[in-house]
């Protein structure tokens, strides 16, 4: 760590490594954020909301003061083929009196009102920080409401302080388990569940189209474009594929243990990963026709893209990329995607990567690449400049930083409005990289 660590907090040093410096215990990750460091992470509630909100016909009630609901209102690009209910933001909007006297009554009344005017099949009740502290027993409120109204009312225990985003994913997974468990003895069907795609810019639909191509039936979508009716069929599938491993591995494991559904991890970012994933699914199902179709389909798609990439590569070759994304799996896919474009990844970090993710990342990058866990703007600035990155791939918060540093930027976040997944996504991704890296505006900076 010599040369460029002029301004790194002592507590942060173990979370920043050179690939070559990555020996012994390796990177420190999956821990609490360093206070005051301006972490880019969100909270437990955020994680839970991200995962569950795409369930389109559920009432998502945020139990807490207004902020949590206000800042998460319809900000993501999850699409729906059916209900649009999930695009509303419902909050019990707790006030000072509620904090003093407890918010249980208000929550119960809110559910009663919902049931008076609407007939949803499921209501999710998210517990925010405050609920964890004022002692509202939302489990009890939900249970009572369930019995009273004869629908599912599922508490999501996601007070913001109870860990980081990953804990929220877990809370969401538990809620999904609670939703589907009653159906676990239903007759199995021939088909699979897609876990961990949120149908941003229609990406769930793209995966589903691929599977259709190779003759695989999709039973349940978790949770992109999911509905109550669709999601409760999940226990009848014979395989789970896990796209966003960070958020959904926990659910996949539970479903494997409790419902006997094996799972495989997949990634549909980049040609290589997409092809591998389709093949992996075909092999996992062990159906000859399916394997044959998968081979044919992936071969055809990859060769179609070859001409396209050949055209773009000269524009991109030799550029340097920095990556800062939410989960490890996405970072890994991006490194591979950049490799396909002959772009070198010089800085790579995640908000919530796990040890095993960082192991894979190390195996993919060059000696000098800097690997960061839960980094902050100050570090990103230093490392991107020191490593002369040409482009940053990241979320909304990182975009202005890249621009202020005169660095190109690729939006790879949940607000995207164009699919970046699958073969279609390769085209969009490559075009976006080209148009930002080679924009004339950088000539004047």
């Amino acid at each position: 760590m010599t040369g460029i660590n002029s301004n790194i907090l002592a507590d942060r040093k173990k979370s920043i490594v050179y690939k070559s410096g990555c020996k012994g215990d390796g990177i420190t990750c999956d821990t609490e954020s360093v206070t005051g460091s301006v972490s880019q992470r969100a909270c437990v509630f955020c994680g839970a909301r991200v995962v569950l909100n795409p369930i389109t016909d559920a009432f998502h009630i945020v139990h807490g003061p207004i902020g949590c609901a206000s800042y998460t209102w319809d900000i993501r690009g999850s699409l729906s083929s059916g209900d649009e209910l999930y695009r509303n933001s419902f909050s019990t909007d707790l006030s000072e009196t509620d904090i003093v006297f407890g918010g249980e009554k208000k929550l119960a009344a809110a559910i009663d009102e919902v049931m008076k005017h609407y007939s949803p099949n499921v209501i999710f009740v998210y517990a925010t920080c405050i609920v964890g502290v004022i002692g509202d027993d939302i489990n009890a409120v939900c249970k009572t409401a369930e019995q009273k109204h004869n629908i599912r009312v599922i508490p999501v225990l996601s007070p913001g302080f109870a860990g980081h985003k990953s804990m929220g994913y877990k809370a969401a997974c538990n809620a999904i388990m609670s939703l589907v468990s009653p159906y676990k003895s239903e007759q199995k069907v021939d088909g699979i569940n897609i876990l961990g795609d949120f149908n941003l810019a229609g990406e769930m639909w793209i995966i589903q189209n691929y599977l259709k191509q190779i003759g695989v039936n999709v039973v349940s979508r978790i949770t992109g474009d999911a509905s109550f009716d669709n999601i409760i069929k999940a226990p009848t599938a014979n395989l789970n594929i896990v796209q966003c491993a960070g958020s959904m591995t926990y659910l996949a494991k539970r479903m494997e243990e409790e419902m006997d559904i094996p799972f495989i991890k997949v990634s549909f970012f980049g040609i290589e990963d997409t092809t591998d994933s389709i093949m992996r699914i075909a092999y996992a199902l062990g159906n000859d026709a399916c394997i044959r179709k998968a081979k044919e389909f992936t071969k055809q798609q990859s060769s179609k893209l070859k001409t396209f990439l050949d055209k773009y590569k000269p524009n991109l070759e030799g550029k340097k990329a920095a990556i800062f994304v939410g989960g490890g799996f996405k970072a890994i896919s991006l490194i591979r995607q950049f490799k396909e474009l002959k772009i070198e990844t010089v800085v790579v970090g995640t908000q919530t990567g796990k040890k095993e993710d960082y192991e894979i990342i190390k195996s993919l990058v060059n000696e000098n690449t800097i690997v960061l866990d839960d980094t902050n703007p100050s570090e990103l600035e230093q490392f991107m400049l020191a490593m002369s990155a040409d482009i940053l791939v990241g979320g909304v918060k990182e975009r202005p930083l890249a621009y202020k540093l005169g660095i190109a930027f690729c939006d790879h976040n949940h607000e995207r409005k164009q699919p970046l997944l699958g073969y279609e996504g390769v085209i969009n991704f490559t075009k976006e990289i080209n148009l930002t890296i080679n924009s004339p505006v950088w000539r004047y900076t």
């Binding site: 005051g36 437990v44 800042y71 809110a110 009102e113 919902v114 007939s119 909304v396 202020k404 005169g406």
Partner: protein, 875 residues
């Protein structure tokens, strides 16, 4: 939604206190903010601000964890401060507490003392503001923070000539305006806060992660000795007002001015400054005023059409409303999510006057409200423009009401930091945006509107040409089951790939397939073009004589042109021989007729229910043409003109056109012969007159039914001039097979035990897909909802799956079996509610004492209504 639910805030029109605190701290020089709470608060606020300002937003968090929550967050806060100082070297740190910190009772002043004790060399000014999210909105949070800043700075009370300026959250651009105007008057001022640079920085070679704009602490220290404070707010409270505090503590007098928006309030500012300085406003300002006034006059007539929804923080909506009022735009809704009791008083007289002028009877001033209410009121009061943040973008998207984005936060457009509303120039900017939006609406429709309204020439009748159907079309007609009544062995396949519709017919209940083309009330699962091809491949193998592929909805084929085109191309590549048939309402026909023909579409069905706009306007509620909604005769006229010119184009290109006409008694029955003659003159091959089926829930639900006799009579009459279709089956949008072989409900010979036991309460069987509405055709039920009506209430009892009655009979005839199952599952019911039902099953149910009620409504409402309507039969 619009149900006025009181215990839930639906789509909030406000944010929380820390948001206001952070924004205020951003206007202090070299200040970093730390939010004392869990990590999410800081991240959410950063994201919200980053998309609005397009600036890096660095806000630290004390990242409170479970441990901190239980044992207190002191350790986190102190370490956080240390880390923050080491990373950013700020001169000021603002600490904003959160719901969490306040609720666990964090004593932040004490923690700050401890911090200074542990770090005696630290000379960073730490300012704490208590800002629990549940205590108020960002509006109060902002003022409260300014107050905390003033209270925490040691004042130099030596009298000086300075004027203190205090603002609510305004844009960086408007901040620059204020500075400029004070400078023009030569006034030495202290502006609190000054976000003009920190939230709208330029590009510089070396990025500075802690920008150096903003008000300096040493300047704030002079506020105690200033000669005057001007606080730009009509609605702040004394207890959170820095101006009030400065007066009370240091004797600095203050005045409160509204934001300088619009002519009156900018005048007020300029006059106040003239009075204060004793000098006249510079010429440049007068010139600006002249130009604004000139513009007001130039656009007043356009503005008079404006009916505005204005929402956001109290000071903003007050000013924007006054700007609207002085320009003749009626604010029909003024709304804030903040609790603001004085808002009505401040605006009511003014709006009343303006509304009265143009005979607008109703307007609403709403405080402490949410977008759920704003949305339903906006529709009710006929708003045509919205002014505020981007939070109303969903209403814009849903209802086509243009939104002028000019307040924080703006997430979906750039330039939030540059929004100008202050002064004569800023007001002019805002006014121009509003006027232009209104003009655009008018301008993009007036030609068609006027043409359609007044041009009554014989535009539709062209001289009849000899029909020249292409050879291909003629050959294919022989094998098309719809066009060739005898060719019943030929099968067709409808591919449901077109979900959207671009017109609204009064006999139609949206949510379901087009009743023109499908059996009413049938909801079809929509396929993608790829799926459609796969389905076709399978069908081709299994269905003998499959000769025609049709696109008939479930919406309109041409409203989904990409899907239609892709589907046809894919299938054509697979099967060069198949005949393509497309059904449409014809609105987009002129645009796609050429492409259709070149894709090999040989048969087109267009539904024309009128050739006269005044008749048409009774059938079509509205049309949605090129992104604009047209209603009444205008809409009908555009539709008709397009249908007819489209049909003409198709016929000229050799396609075989059939025209469907839905016969609505009392509306267009007298007019149908004219339709037939008109389309005949264009070269149409045949017409298909169909009876309108009154679908419950549709505008025409209570219209009389057309009986077969009347229908046949009319068909015969029209048959004298043009070939008529007598064999229409009104197929589903996903029908497969021959016309005769595709009846999805076949109820020929079922048997079932009747159960007529009398009960006190009334049990209903409800056929519902959604479980909320009676929204399913009886024949398509896979489940039955059971409800009991008792003591004036409809109670949900259970959901019965029809499948469970089918155990052990896997090989039996599906359709027959299904019906029997359903009947079994409702044996104990007095009545069944469904959206539609066939005649035979309806009769059979009646035979068993089960009353059949068709409706389309919320289940509970439908049950209550049924009791009302059929009390004697049911109880």
């Amino acid at each position: 939604m619009g149900k006025n639910i009181v215990n839930l805030t639906i789509n909030p029109c406000k944010m929380c206190m820390p948001m206001g605190a952070v924004s205020a701290f951003y206007g202090i020089n070299k200040c970093m903010t730390l939010i004392h709470g869990s990590q999410g608060c800081s991240t959410y606020i950063r994201r919200h601000m980053a998309t609005h300002y397009n600036e890096p937003i660095d806000i630290a968090s004390s990242s409170l964890t479970e441990e901190g929550t239980v044992y207190g967050g002191e350790k986190n806060l102190i370490n956080g401060l240390k880390n923050l100082i080491s990373l950013y070297s700020p001169t000021v740190i603002g600490i904003s507490t959160t719901c969490l910190a306040e609720t666990i009772g964090e004593d932040v002043p004490r923690i700050i003392d401890n911090f200074y004790e542990q770090n005696p060399d630290c000379n960073v000014k730490i300012i704490n503001v208590s800002s629990a999210g549940y205590e108020g909105t960002q509006y109060e949070g902002f003022f409260k923070t300014l107050c905390a800043i003033v209270k925490n700075v040691e004042m130099d009370i030596t009298p000086n000539n300075k004027v203190n300026i205090i603002t609510p959250l305004i844009s960086p651009s408007d901040t620059r305006y204020l500075k400029d105007v004070f400078e023009k008057f030569g006034i030495d001022y202290v502006l609190l806060p000054d976000i003009s640079e920190n939230l709208d920085g330029g590009y510089i070679k070396k990025y500075n992660k802690l920008p150096d704009g903003g008000t300096k602490i040493e300047d704030i220290a002079k506020m105690g000795g200033a000669t005057l404070t001007i606080e730009f707010s009509k609605f702040t409270h004394d207890e959170i007002s820095a101006a009030a505090y400065l007066q009370e503590k240091y004797g600095v007098p203050y005045i409160r001015l509204p934001l300088p928006v619009g002519i009156r309030d900018t005048d007020l500012l300029i006059q106040s400054l003239e009075k204060f300085t004793g000098i006249k406003a510079p010429k440049s300002i007068n010139k600006q005023r002249e130009r604004y006034l000139d513009a007001m006059i130039d656009s007043h007539k356009y503005n008079a059409q404006g009916r505005a929804v204005i929402f956001g923080e109290p000071d903003f909506i007050y000013s924007a409303s006054r700007l609207c009022c002085e320009n003749g735009i009626v604010p029909v809704i003024v709304a804030t999510g903040t609790r603001c009791d004085t808002l009505t008083n401040a605006l009511d007289d003014e709006i009343k006057k303006i509304a009265k002028n143009v005979f607008v009877d109703e307007y609403k001033i709403l405080s402490n409200t949410d977008f759920d209410l704003i949305e339903s009121e906006a529709l009710r009061l006929g708003a045509n423009i919205m002014i505020g943040s981007s939070d109303a973008r969903r209403i814009e998207e849903k209802h086509g009401i243009t939104l002028i984005r000019c307040a924080f936060p703006i997430h979906d457009q750039i330039g939030g930091q540059r929004v100008r509303t202050f002064g004569y120039d800023g007001s002019l900017d805002l006014l121009d945006r509003i006027t232009n939006a209104l003009l655009f609406k008018k301008d993009s429709s007036f030609r068609e509107n006027l043409y359609n309204e007044f041009y009554k020439g014989d535009k539709y009748i062209s001289t009849s040409k000899s029909k020249t159907f292409s050879q291909k079309a003629m050959e294919r007609t022989v094998t098309h089951p719809c066009y060739n009544a005898c060719g019943t062995e030929n099968a067709r396949m409808h591919l449901p790939i077109a979900p959207k519709c671009n017109i609204s017919c009064n006999y139609c209940v949206r949510k379901f397939d087009c009743p023109n083309e499908s059996r009413p009330g049938v909801t079809t699962k929509v396929l993608t073009p790829q799926d459609a091809l796969e389905k076709y491949k399978v069908a081709k193998e299994k269905v003998p004589h499959l000769s025609v592929v049709g696109i008939a909805g479930p919406g309109d084929a041409l409203a989904n042109w990409e899907n239609t085109k892709n589907t046809l191309s894919l299938i054509r590549a697979y099967d060069p021989d198949v005949t393509f048939c497309v059904s449409t309402n014809g609105l987009m026909l002129p645009m796609y007729a050429d492409e259709m023909v070149s894709l090999g579409v040989t048969h087109v069905t267009v539904t024309c229910n009128a050739v006269n706009p005044s008749v048409g306007s009774k059938i079509y509620r509205y049309i949605n043409y090129m992104g604009t909604k047209y209603e009444g005769e205008t809409g009908a006229a555009i539709l008709m003109a397009n249908q007819l010119s489209g049909i003409k184009m198709l016929c000229e290109r050799g396609a075989m056109c059939k025209v469907n006409i839905v016969m609505v008694k009392g509306i267009n029955d007298f007019h149908i012969e004219e339709i037939v003659d008109t389309v005949k003159s264009l070269g149409v091959f045949m017409t298909n007159i169909m009876p309108m089926i009154p679908v419950a829930g549709s505008v025409f639900e209570n219209m009389p039914l057309t009986n077969n006799k009347e229908l046949t009579l009319l068909r015969n009459k029209c048959g004298q001039s043009l070939k008529q279709m007598y064999h229409c089956k009104q197929c589903r949008a996903d029908a497969i097979g021959t016309l005769e072989g595709d009846q999805s409900i076949d109820f020929q010979d079922y048997q079932s035990d009747s159960n007529k036991e009398q009960i006190e309460k009334v049990r209903f069987a409800v056929i519902s897909k959604s479980g909320i509405l009676v929204d399913q055709h009886f024949g398509h039920a896979t489940q039955v909802y059971i409800y009991d009506y008792e003591n004036g209430e409809a109670k949900y009892i259970e959901k019965r799956s029809c499948k469970k009655y089918c155990e052990g009979q896997e090989n039996c005839d599906d359709k027959f079996d299904k019906f029997e199952e359903i009947v079994k599952s409702m044996k104990d019911c007095k009545a069944v509610l469904c959206m539609r039902i066939g005649d035979i099953p309806s009769k059979k149910l009646a035979e068993q004492g089960i009353k059949v009620i068709t409706t389309y409504d919320k289940i509970e409402t439908a049950i209550a209504q049924s009791i009302k309507d059929y009390r004697r039969e049911l109880i």
